[in-house]
């Protein structure tokens, strides 16, 4: 199996999963998080080969925010440009619950064939 084929398969899989994981992370977090913090939480949960590059979560965060699933506020930072902190909205929680159910049934379905 070619390595680039594996990468492409992973990328196709990630399409909606990144959004699901980001919503789940923000749903569990007690406080608002900014992009770098979220990236680091995902990286620490996933030692070994990263499932997705941390740089790819930023555009997804923006997309979720534009869709009303997240809200954000800007806080000045000493280390660089002002940080944008994200928080999940009520609409985001409702969507997350639906997506969770979709993911669980998809996973169960796939597992029945490959286990």
């Amino acid at each position: 199996m070619d390595d680039s084929d594996t990468k492409k398969f992973q990328k196709d899989l990630n399409g909606g999963l990144v959004s699901l994981v980001l919503l789940a992370v923000l749903d569990r977090s007690a406080e608002d998080l900014y992009g770098y913090e979220i990236a680091k939480r995902l990286a620490s949960a996933n030692d070994g080969a990263p499932i997705f590059k941390e740089g790819t979560i930023y555009p997804v965060l923006r997309a979720l925010s534009a869709g009303g699933l997240l809200t954000s506020r800007i806080v000045p930072s000493y280390s660089g440009p002002p940080r944008r902190y994200y928080r999940i909205t009520e609409e985001g929680r409702a969507v997350l619950a639906e997506w969770k159910a979709v993911w669980q049934s998809t996973r169960g379905f796939v597992d029945r064939f490959i286990d």
Binding site: Y34, G35, Y36, A39, A43, P50, K53, E54, G55, T56, Y58, P59, V60, R62, A63, A66, G67, I74, S77, Y78, S79, G80, P81, P82, R83, R84
Partner: protein, 301 residues
């Protein structure tokens, strides 16, 4: 893409900008902003490592510039497809195209923007003129510098807010993040960078010009609406006059025939024609204004 891996944050941002060349300037501004937030946070989190050491592993954590650029491009396409209202079926006939403007939400939002722009124009103009003149007055004192910087900072926030407003009204992509603060350095080099940045001055120019533009937009919108609406409702008044519910004897009409019964359908048709033209003009002004705002408020790559 085969080129040397970036060795510093500036090099990384430059490569990312090159990878995104040709994309919407607002998208480039957002991507550079996000990348810089991450890279600077990463450098700050590892004070024991040099910037070059950190950049070495960036390709495997944050992603190489071409990967990140691809992620922004893909997401932008998806978001656009999900968020923009579906394209209306183009009406075939000329009349269909002319009256089709009523089913375009952009025409209504642009009309609303034109009415609102008098208020925003007054606020922007006052803010800019007061800010500039007080800054000039305080220039000889020590407090002049922080005051001027505060003024420029607020102007940038206003420019971002105005961009969001324009995107909501016209659907033209505007930045979702404040402008990239530029190369790092001491406080004074940042100040100098801000003063030599063409966009700082074009933003102030935009804010000042919003007053005359706002007045013009407001007049076009209000005059267009009142004249066309009064023509459209003229038949009601005319009929009421003829039936005798209402008397317009005291009203002097000139030319005389305007009050005649046979003229009423023509007045109504003229009003509808005028209102439809106003909708077209509003939509056009909305588009033109968005392009103009983009030229003055958003940095070109």
């Amino acid at each position: 893409m085969n080129r040397s891996a970036p060795r510093s944050i500036d090099q990384y941002l430059r490569q990312l900008r090159e990878e995104l060349a040709g994309e919407d300037p607002a998208l480039i501004q957002d991507a550079l902003y996000d990348a810089e937030e991450y890279l600077r946070a990463e450098v700050a989190a590892h004070p024991e490592k040099s910037e070059a050491d950190i950049l070495e592993i960036i390709a495997s954590t944050y992603g190489a510039p071409d990967e990140v650029a691809a992620a922004y491009r893909d997401t932008e396409i998806k978001v656009k497809a999900a968020m923009t209202t579906p394209v209306r079926k183009r009406a075939e006939s000329a009349a269909g195209r002319f009256f089709g403007v009523y089913s375009d939400p952009r025409a209504y939002t642009a009309l609303f923007f034109m009415i609102l722009s008098l208020a925003t124009g007054i606020i922007y103009f006052t803010f800019t003129v007061v800010g500039l003149s007080v800054s000039a007055g305080l220039a000889v004192l020590v407090v002049g510098v922080p005051f001027f910087l505060l003024f420029i900072g607020i102007a940038r926030v206003i420019s971002l807010a105005e961009g969001r407003l324009i995107e909501a009204m016209t659907g033209v992509r505007m930045p979702r993040r404040p402008p990239h603060p530029g190369a790092p350095g001491g406080f004074w080099s940042r100040v100098a960078g801000m003063l030599t940045d063409r966009r700082t001055w074009s933003t102030l120019l935009y804010l000042v010009l919003m007053l005359p533009l706002g007045i013009a937009y407001f007049v076009i919108a209000v005059v267009g609406l009142t004249v066309s609406m009064s023509l459209i409702f003229a038949p009601l008044v005319g009929l009421a006059d003829h039936i005798g519910i209402l008397s317009t004897d005291q009203v002097h009409l000139s030319p005389e025939w305007i009050g005649a019964l046979w003229a009423l359908p023509f007045l109504f048709a003229l009003g509808v024609l005028l209102l439809t033209t106003l909708m077209h003009v509003s939509r056009g002004i909305g588009r033109l204004h968005a392009g103009y705002a983009k030229a003055l408020l958003v940095a070109r790559g």
